[in-house]
Symmetry: C2
Subunit: 320 residues, 2 copies
């Protein structure tokens, strides 16, 4: 019955880019584990472990992940965390003039009434420190993704491409593996086969009790991360990466492979300067039910797509 528990997997995400020359020590990574540990604690999460290479440090958190490069960081949190508290804690430690870009995102939740704040609450708070613009990608009665960015001129680097794949109601082997009472890190790693899925990446993963699994993967300045909440009726898996999906033909297939692994009933793809959903659309057994494309003032082409499995069976009511 443990798998009937509810855990809100839907994430909030912050990406901050700083002007390196304006920060003491000239590098976000040199701020150290205790600095980032404190930032993470400010939204009631903890650092569980870390991996590092020449470009990026990846912290695995009790509620998702934090990636820190020399000039930027990406933090993703789930559950009922108030991520905006961590952002404000970071901003208070520096003059906000060091911030070149700040993008805050928040997905629709399964149970928004159980969250401590709404997106509008978050933005009201954040704008006490730094002004910006807010958008919603997707309809309020369907999947949607809120996005706030600060109102400063910004030009993303050519290779700055991100894809977020958010999957609901997983099926098949994935469901078996992640909701089994006998799950182990070994069975899960076999399921992923990271050597083939993400060749050359360093892997850091964690199995939560009683359910849930997170993994960070890094290679050069690239990252990939999965967060899995397998609880029945509310299962949710997120995959996010800055691999340049539209150049390497193998990477182009990455999202499709992951969808095939998890067999979600519904999923969203949110991409930044990366138009990587065309393969998915033509090959899968899912239908596109909503697509929103827009160009942000800060130079990102954002593409939001909501897919639902083609209807082929009639379900039963869920007893609650």
């Amino acid at each position: 019955l443990g798998v009937d528990l509810f855990f809100e997997g839907s994430e909030k995400k912050i990406e901050v880019v700083v002007a390196r020359e304006k920060i003491e020590g000239q590098c976000l990574r040199l701020l150290g584990d205790s600095f980032w540990g404190k930032i993470v604690e400010d939204c009631n999460a903890q650092i569980l472990s870390k991996i590092s290479n020449d470009s990026v440090t990846a912290y695995l958190l009790s509620e998702s992940s934090l990636f820190v490069w020399d000039d930027r960081f990406v933090m993703i949190t789930c559950g009922t965390t108030v991520l905006v508290n961590s952002i404000m804690s970071f901003l208070k430690k520096f003059d906000t003039s060091i911030i070149e870009s700040l993008i805050f995102q928040r997905k629709n939740e399964y149970f928004s009434h159980l969250q401590k704040t709404s997106f509008l609450d978050d933005i009201d708070n954040l704008q006490k420190m730094i002004k910006g613009k807010s958008y919603r990608f997707g309809d309020l009665d369907g999947h949607h993704n809120y996005l706030f960015h600060i109102d400063r001129p910004f030009k993303p680097a050519k290779e700055d491409k991100t894809s977020e794949l958010l999957m609901y109601h997983i099926k098949g082997e994935a469901k078996e593996v992640f909701s089994s009472q006998r799950q182990t890190l070994e069975t899960i790693r076999n399921f992923f086969n990271f050597e083939e899925l993400l060749p050359g990446f360093i892997i850091d993963d964690y199995l939560f009790d009683p359910f849930g699994y997170s993994v960070n993967a890094i290679k050069d300045s690239y990252y990939a991360t999965f967060h899995i909440t397998p609880e029945a009726d509310t299962s949710y898996v997120s995959f996010e990466t800055n691999l340049n999906n539209d150049e390497d033909p193998e990477n182009r297939k990455l999202l499709g492979k992951v969808i095939e692994m998890f067999k979600p009933t519904t999923f969203d793809i949110v991409s930044f300067n990366s138009d990587d959903n065309s393969d998915v659309q033509s090959s899968s057994c899912h239908q596109l039910v909503n697509q929103i494309k827009d160009i942000l003032d800060i130079g990102y082409h954002v593409n939001f797509c909501h897919f639902i499995e083609k209807q082929n069976k009639v379900g039963k009511a869920v007893v609650i």
Copy 2:
């Protein structure tokens, strides 16, 4: 800009059937306007007007509708009303042994975090007085409809058939008519053309300020009711009727006609002992994305269908 205001159109609904011989005066309608006015006030709504015939009294409410027959009543409320307070107020006035059937429904809301209670809160309260079973029709990340019924043997009458049509994001003439600053009851009645849509029905309607329209219609023991909240980005129209859709060929076409009038981007049909969505499915420009069918212990075949317009254009992000 008024049309950018938000009003939660998504309804809660209660249907109660009593054993007539067990109530004083032997008839729910004889309880009178002041009795029902008090019940309505208990969820912070007011009676605005009423119409009546030999079988049913229809009250138009500040938040939707109340229909009272001799042995049953149906109350529908929207906004942030706590309908369960009215139900408990009704139950307190009688011994609960008079209740033959009680079905409470609640739709997913646009903004569930703005509601005063969740469905589970409602059911916890209600079950302090009367026990039952709860179900959810539809997935948590899509449209869904919660349903609670009491746990007593019940056999619906053969003619007891209900259809609920819940429409989102209306377009075309309907959008124009209901969100125009120059809207009048006359333009709205012309739009509906009730004489053709619901021939022989008595009509009672109300235009809210600045936006919103409700109408009750009755004929013999039949009722039909529309509630329209046209606010941009969160427009919502509900239509509900106990017309026997699957017998009269004209009535079979009724839901399809209404969908054609409002051109919603998405809609749900929830039917009780009435399988009236087959025409819709084959003729419309919408695709069925989820269907849940189940038979309740109390004898109702419930069919929940969620339709989304076939994707044919890419949208823009909404500035918020």
